[in-house]
C-alpha cells in the first residue's frame, strides 16, 4: 500500500470490513448454488466465477494489489501467464481424444494387483491411482 497516513489506514480498515462482508455473502451464495444442482458445465462455470470474484477481492484489497508498485504487477503478470499455461496443458489432452485414450488405457493396464481393468472402473476412476504406479514401473 502506498500511503500510510492515519486517515488512510482508518479508511482502509473500513474498506476491508466491507470486503469481509462481501466475501461472507459470496461464500453463502456459492454453497446455496450447489444445492440447486445445476448441470455440471453450468455448475463449474458459476462456481469458478464466484470463486474468481472472491479471490480478486482478497488480492485487490487484503493484499493491496489495487494500489501496488509496478514491479509487483510485472511479476504477477508473468506468474499469471505461466499459470494459464499450466491450466491449458490438460485442455490439450481434452481435445485430442487419441492421446487421452492412450494415456488412460495404458495406465490402468497391469491388473496384477487384482484390480479390475481401467475401462470397467465404475466409480470415480476407482483404482486408477493404485495402478498408475505399477504401470509407470513397467515402462522403465
Amino acid at each position: 500500500m502506498a500511503g500510510h497516513g492515519e486517515a488512510e489506514i482508518r479508511k482502509y480498515v473500513k474498506t476491508c470490513i466491507a470486503v469481509f462482508s462481501s466475501l461472507m455473502v459470496l461464500t453463502i451464495v456459492t454453497v446455496a448454488i450447489s444445492y440447486v444442482h445445476l448441470d455440471t458445465p453450468s455448475a463449474i462455470a458459476v462456481a469458478l466465477i464466484v470463486a474468481t470474484v472472491k479471490a480478486s477481492l482478497v488480492a485487490l484489497f487484503f493484499m493491496h494489489l489495487i494500489s501496488e508498485r509496478h514491479a509487483i504487477y510485472y511479476l504477477l503478470c508473468l506468474t499469471g501467464l505461466f499459470f494459464l499455461l499450466l491450466m491449458y496443458l490438460p485442455s490439450g489432452w481434452y481435445h485430442d481424444e487419441m492421446k487421452i485414450h492412450t494415456v488412460w488405457s495404458v495406465l490402468p493396464q497391469p491388473a496384477e494387483a487384482g484390480h479390475h481393468g481401467g475401462e470397467a472402473a465404475g466409480h470415480a476412476g476407482e483404482a486408477v491411482a493404485d495402478e498408475a504406479a505399477p504401470a509407470a514401473e513397467a515402462h522403465h
Binding site: I9, V13, C16, A47, A51, R69, I72
Partner: protein, 196 residues
C-alpha cells in the same frame, strides 16, 4: 551489518526488499498449487466418472472453515493496521484472533480427515480422494506454516517493534500477504473439491 532496503524502499522497485521477496515466494506458490489444479483437471476429464464432492465430503464443516479462514484474513489485516496506528495492544489482540481462527480451521480439518479414515476412505481409495487429500493436505501444511510465523510475530518476534517499528510492521505485512494467499487457495479448493 544493516540489511539494505528493509525499511526504506529500493529506488529501482519502489518496494522494500522483504516485500518483493514475499511476492516472489508467492509466485512460486502459485505454480505449486497450479500444478495440482492442473493435475486435478487431467484426472477429472480422464476419468470415466467423477463423484460430486458433496456426496463424499462434509459441506457444512467446510463452509464453517471457509468463514474461519476469511475471518482470519481480516483479523491479520487489522493486526497490521493496528501497528500502523501505533496500537501494539490491538495488534496482539488481532494476531491472537488470527492464530485462534487458524486452529479452528485445523481442528475442523482433523475431524474431517478422521471421519474419512473411519469410513475406510483413504488417498489410495480412488482418484478423487487421492487429489482431495493431496490438495487439502498441502494446504493444511501451509496453514501450519502460517501459524508458526504468526505465533513468532506475536511472541518472541514482537520485540522488534520496540527497536524498529517500521521493520516489524513490514514483517507483519509480509506474513499477512502469505496468509491471504493461503485463504485465496482455499477459496478455490472449497468449490472445486466440495461443491462440484
Amino acid at each position: 551489518m544493516e540489511i539494505a532496503h528493509i525499511t526504506k524502499p529500493h529506488p529501482e522497485t519502489g518496494l522494500v526488499n522483504s516485500k518483493l521477496g514475499v511476492w516472489l515466494f508467492l509466485a512460486s506458490e502459485v505454480m505449486l498449487f497450479g500444478a495440482l489444479f492442473s493435475s486435478y483437471i487431467i484426472m477429472r476429464i480422464g476419468s470415466t466418472s467423477w463423484p460430486h464432492g458433496y456426496t463424499i465430503l462434509n459441506v457444512p464443516l467446510a463452509t464453517v472453515n471457509t468463514f474461519a479462514l476469511i475471518s482470519s484474513s481480516v483479523t491479520i489485516v487489522l493486526a497490521w493496521a493496528s501497528l500502523k496506528l501505533n496500537d501494539f495492544g490491538k495488534f496482539r489482540l488481532y494476531m491472537s484472533a488470527t492464530i485462534a481462527l487458524s486452529f479452528v480451521f485445523l481442528v475442523i480439518k482433523y475431524f474431517e480427515y478422521t471421519a474419512k479414515f473411519a469410513h475406510g476412505l483413504y488417498p489410495s481409495t480412488n482418484t478423487f480422494l487421492a487429489i482431495y487429500f493431496t490438495m487439502t493436505g498441502l494446504h493444511g501444511l501451509h496453514v501450519i506454516g502460517g501459524i508458526i510465523v504468526n505465533a513468532y510475530l506475536l511472541g518472541p518476534g514482537s520485540k522488534l517493534w520496540h527497536r524498529s517499528p517500521d521493520q516489524f510492521a513490514n514483517r507483519v505485512e509480509g506474513a499477512g500477504l502469505y496468509w491471504h494467499f493461503v485463504d485465496l487457495v482455499w477459496i478455490f479448493l472449497f468449490p472445486v473439491l466440495y461443491l462440484l
